[in-house]
């Protein structure tokens, strides 16, 4: 079989079709960054996708195409895929920079089990910098980059540092079926009924309901506090009962009636408890408030719950923490609605 050589710095990159259907050839005229992330790349970590969103906006303004990202959903190129194979970075975390002419200008590969050191990246950038790179000699020619490509490279380096480790010592020991599952980390079709409305999403099964609500459906009323079941900020109703969206996988919430804070008011008319919260000044910063409201409305609906006294309400509401300690006013608001 005729094995194509692995493109090195200075080589023209082979044309390939990217997962989003774009051909590399079509991106000529602007720098391109190919980022290969490991299978531990985690779309459920909102801060990662948020950072990538920002970086890609920066790439955009630098005129670069950041092609590991498929349309509106962030997806890194699979380091075990065919493209990784073609660029000689299979199973590794890597960043490859192509200039405006499709020539590979820079490749950084992080071997399995290794961590990328920022010094490595800085050294590479130093060598690439048009302002500091040596002006003469054959080496220099290869490194004559436009300012634009350099800026792109800098941003890309920052992105690379964020990519989670690939082929770390643990995953080296992964069994064959674990690897099979990892490569097959397929997205799944997820049908959710939220506030009476049907939504169809395509999600990584790792995505928690909380992130699906906030990141995919932009229903940001439901808050993320701890992300580990410890604060109640993410409380929603599943089939009328309070539940934590951060510990519910979205794929497991299918077939349930999901109610979020956005579904509490009837149009402009507030839910009586929302009105009571306003009346009683039952919040300060308001961050815990959607969760408090969802927990308390479920409580008020629950005929089996004995909530006669303030003490009983406090016990039943203990899953909702409030940094601002608005507790007395929250209890007063709930009691108000209870009496009405």
């Amino acid at each position: 079989m005729n094995q194509a050589p692995i493109p090195q710095a200075g080589d023209l990159a082979p044309d390939c079709v990217l997962p989003n259907g774009t051909r590399l050839l079509d991106l000529r005229g602007r720098p391109v960054i190919l980022a290969f992330a490991s299978d531990t790349w985690d779309p459920t970590l909102a801060h990662q996708s948020a950072l990538f969103a920002r970086l890609s906006a920066d790439f955009g303004s630098a005129g670069a195409a950041f092609v590991d990202i498929a349309s509106d959903e962030w997806q890194a190129l699979d380091c075990r895929g065919a493209l990784a194979e073609r660029f000689g970075v299979a199973g590794q975390r890597a960043l490859i920079l192509l200039d405006e002419h499709g020539v590979v200008r820079w490749r950084t590969v992080v071997a399995p089990g290794q961590e990328l050191r920022s010094g490595q990246v800085l050294a590479a950038l130093e060598a690439l910098n048009p302002a500091t790179a040596p002006a003469a000699g054959p080496e220099a020619v290869a490194f004559q980059l436009s300012r634009r490509t350099f800026v792109t490279a800098t941003l890309a380096a920052a992105a690379l540092l964020l990519l989670p480790g690939c082929g770390s010592s643990e995953s080296d020991q992964d069994s064959a079926d674990e690897q099979a599952a990892a490569t097959a980390s397929d997205t799944v079709a997820v049908a959710l009924t939220i506030n009476g409305q049907a939504h169809r999403l395509t999600l990584d099964p790792r995505v928690a309901l909380l992130d699906a609500l906030r990141e995919n459906l932009h229903l940001t009323g439901t808050k993320k506090g701890c992300d580990h079941g410890q604060c109640g900020a993410c409380t929603v109703h599943l089939d009328g009962q309070s539940a934590l969206a951060c510990l519910t996988l979205a794929v497991m919430a299918q077939g349930k009636e999901i109610t979020t804070i956005e579904g509490l008011a009837k149009g402009e008319e507030l839910h009586p408890l929302q009105a009571a919260f306003l009346m009683h000044d039952a919040f300060q910063c308001g961050y815990c408030t959607p969760g408090q409201l969802m927990a308390a409305t479920a409580l008020l609906q629950d005929k089996t719950m004995d909530t006669g006294s303030g003490v009983e309400i406090r016990e039943a509401m203990s899953g909702n923490l409030c940094r601002c300690a608005a507790y007395p006013n929250i209890i007063a608001a709930i009691q108000d609605v209870q009496r009405a």
Binding site: D177, A181, R206, A243, L247, R314, E315
Partner: protein, 350 residues
């Protein structure tokens, strides 16, 4: 989070077969323990078999006792009139645990299978034999204030965090399972293991063995659960105690006692149980039993406080169960099960 394939099981047989064939496959029910640990990178299943849709959601009368399906929620079990009246300790343990939201999500099978709250177990940068066999135990020389007094080993000093498990142990519940080799029943006190040199194994369940129900045997006595924690509510037990008491006229016919928060499993007290049988209940008797129960406790650097706390808790639980002392709140509620805190205010006139 490690990537996984998600599969929803339609039948118990299918769930067992799917998990059995892949070494790194696991069940998931309410997800409140599993998803948390998957987010931490502590659990890394490659296949996740969702058993929450299996029709194991009934509480039924069974051989003079109760059969609680694996998928009954912690909330539903706690407020069932049968459970509350006949197995009061179970309702009390459930309602004194976690929060309303978590109890709504959590399943009866998942609860006793939750993992330890040893902080080093959840911290990937620390040595932990339970998470990574052979890596060592950071808690041994670390801040081991929530760790074990009984039955620990050099490999692991963790405690089991479930409140429910303590009540089920005292009531001698039976765990019905369906495994790769068919169905079997496990006496609840035999479900969890001591750490020994295999602390990564919490229970005797085989890979792919599914809990189908928890069976409570006939019981006509009184049972009670009492829990001490660092805050009034929504916290794990530092020490807890479940008592199942059967009287014969004025005398104790049989009493079964299990402690929580002191060992790798609910810690039954056979010595104390034997001392109490056939006796007239009294505070003096209970103190003697409690002293005997803690005689062989082996404290670590930071958890010796659990010895007097546990002794006093045991005495109080026995006094309250036998009626020598009033409960702090209505039987079968979180208030009866709590020591002090918010619940303590119920005792104060409203």
């Amino acid at each position: 989070m490690h990537p996984f394939q998600y599969q929803r099981a339609d039948t118990a047989d299918q769930a067992v077969a799917t998990v059995t064939k892949t070494a790194t496959a696991t069940f998931i029910a309410g997800g409140t323990s599993h998803v948390d640990l998957m987010k931490e990178g502590v659990h890394r299943p490659s296949v996740l078999v969702d058993v929450s849709g299996l029709p194991l959601k009934q509480i039924t009368q069974h051989e003079g006792g109760l059969r609680i399906g694996a998928n009954v929620s912690n909330s539903a079990a706690a407020i069932s009139a049968d459970v509350r009246q006949r197995y009061t300790a179970v309702s009390e343990a459930l309602l004194a645990g976690a929060s309303v939201q978590i109890r709504n999500m959590a399943s009866m099978a998942g609860n006793p299978l939750q993992r330890t709250r040893c902080p080093y177990f959840r911290d990937l940068t620390q040595a932990c034999n339970k998470r990574e066999p052979g890596s060592g135990c950071a808690a041994l020389g670390g801040y081991n204030h929530v760790h074990a007094l009984f039955g620990a080993s050099d490999a692991c000093v963790a405690t089991h965090p479930s409140d429910l498990a303590v009540a089920l142990s005292a009531l001698d519940a039976r765990v019905q399972t369906l495994g790769p080799r068919g169905p079997r029943a496990i006496a609840f006190p035999e479900l969890h293991r001591l750490p020994g040199d295999t602390p990564h194994l919490d229970t005797v369940l085989e890979h792919g063995e599914l809990i189908t129900s928890l069976d409570l045997p006939p019981f006509t006595g009184r049972s009670h659960y009492l829990k001490v924690r660092e805050r009034a509510s929504y916290a794990y037990a530092l020490v807890s105690c479940a008592v199942a008491l059967e009287m014969d006229g004025p005398k104790i016919r049989r009493v079964r006692v299990a402690l929580g928060g002191v060992a790798h499993k609910p810690w039954r007290l056979p010595k104390a149980e034997a001392m109490l049988a056939g006796q007239l209940p009294s505070e003096k008797l209970f103190r003697a039993a409690a002293t005997a129960a803690f005689a062989d406790a082996k404290p670590l650097e930071h958890n010796a406080y659990k010895i007097p706390m546990g002794r006093n808790l045991l005495v109080r639980a026995l006094l309250e169960t036998s009626g020598l002392q009033a409960l702090q709140g209505p039987a079968g509620t979180a208030f009866a099960a709590s020591v002090g805190g918010v619940a303590g205010q119920l005792a104060v006139p409203r």
